[in-house]
Amino acid sequence: MNPATLATRHAQALMGALGRLARAPLATILTLLVIGLALALPAALGLLVTNAEVATGGFSQAVDMSVYLKSGETLQQAQRLARRVRTMPGVANVTVISAAQGLRDFRKYSGFGAALDALTSNPLPNVLRIVPRAEASSAADLERLRLDIGAWPEVDVVQLDAQWVLRFNAMLGVLRRLVLTAAVLFGAGVLAVIGNTIRLEILNRHAEIEVTKLVGGSNAFVRRPFLYTGMLYGLGGAVLAWMILEAVVIGLTGPVARLAQLYGSAFVPTGLAARQCGVLFGGGVVLGWLGAWISAHHHLRRIEPRA
């Protein structure tokens, strides 16, 4: 069969599948609704994670580490150490906060100005403030950096003041895993729904399939319209899921924006990005095709012509 004929056959199978779905609108809509809801749930969780990441913006960058040097170490010594830290892997930036600078800041922000005047000498040490790279900000990476620097003889204490950021990131990690789990579970659900729908369709068209095989229709030929039906279900369900999500986002925009405003943020929730839409629609089509293929492969084999 030449490519043009094959393309015509595929177009015919697609149009046939479309026509068949259009001729039973209620059944088609119900099936699409089930698939759409099943796809919308994991997609909504995914959207929650993306929005949480956007809403909390620079949080993951907020991790930093304060290295308090022993009180005997001079400012020159601190600057020398800062140069050394800067060359270490996983370090984005290092600033030296001199003892004098530290005292000025403390006087300014603490409100103990008068009490500090009573001191004859500056009790504060020189401090290095280290900002790790984002890709080296896991709890394990930070802990390793803390132990490394803490072992140096010039260093008194290393304070890692980012527990809550790590916890927040870990929570996002849990959510992301949840998205994946939900996607797998509901994806299996979609497979089952489409597979069962195709099975019923095959049973309904038993006579037609038998005659087609009788006049020499190959399994691929008989299977093709069902695969297109499955793909259309998957794509239609994905589009429906997208519409559901858009509606949810529009509904939530007002309340969420008010909430964000109370936290001094200009955050507004966003819908699926183009890439995420691509994953949703592509996933729908693949699930539809796969569900139909499994069902058709299983059931079509049983239909053999009997004269």
Partner: protein, 230 residues
Amino acid sequence: MIQLERVTKRYPNGREALTNVSFFVDRGEMVFVTGRSGAGKSTLLKLIALLERPTRGTMTVNGRNTGTLKVRHIPAFRRQIGVVFQDHKLLADRPVFDNVALPLVVAGAPLKEIDKRVRAALDQVGLLGKERMVPVELSVGEQQRVGIARAVAGKPALIVADEPTGNLDPELAVEVMRLFKRFSDVGVTVLVATHDQHIVREFGSREIVLESGEVRGGDPDPLPSLVATR
């Protein structure tokens, strides 16, 4: 075209429908298979259309050994054979045109070609102009002829027909047989199973008589020397 050597067909329920059947049909021949119902005519046609496989013996149809042909080659094999069924096996919810076009569609013929050949086939069976009707709107005889049009539309090398005149009045039956004869005249091999002795006498073609699953008369034309060369 068709060659059976000591072919036996036993169904899973133990019934032996054909026993040691041997015969030979040459390319372009028209042959009648006769016998009472239950004699094995239908089983023979099922074996030829590869709806069933022989239990024992060797069977070659259109150059293919139907006992060993791989399942994935069966569709292509069936496309070379036009089968006319006693109960038509038409799609009741599709118009006549679609029914006749089906073998051409599965073979991947271009649309123009399909249109041309469906009309030609319907013309040959005298049903041109009824393309858009569905089978239930037609008489039984007309339905039978739609089945024949479908069998010949794909220009098969071999046509097998199971009681194609069973539901037709004598006049129409002769008409249908003349149609088959015309196909055989242009080189198509035709094998017709029938119990209508009148038809067989009228056409004077070679006859193979089946009785209780065995060849009991007629002219099975075994011609071993001829067989060996094919």
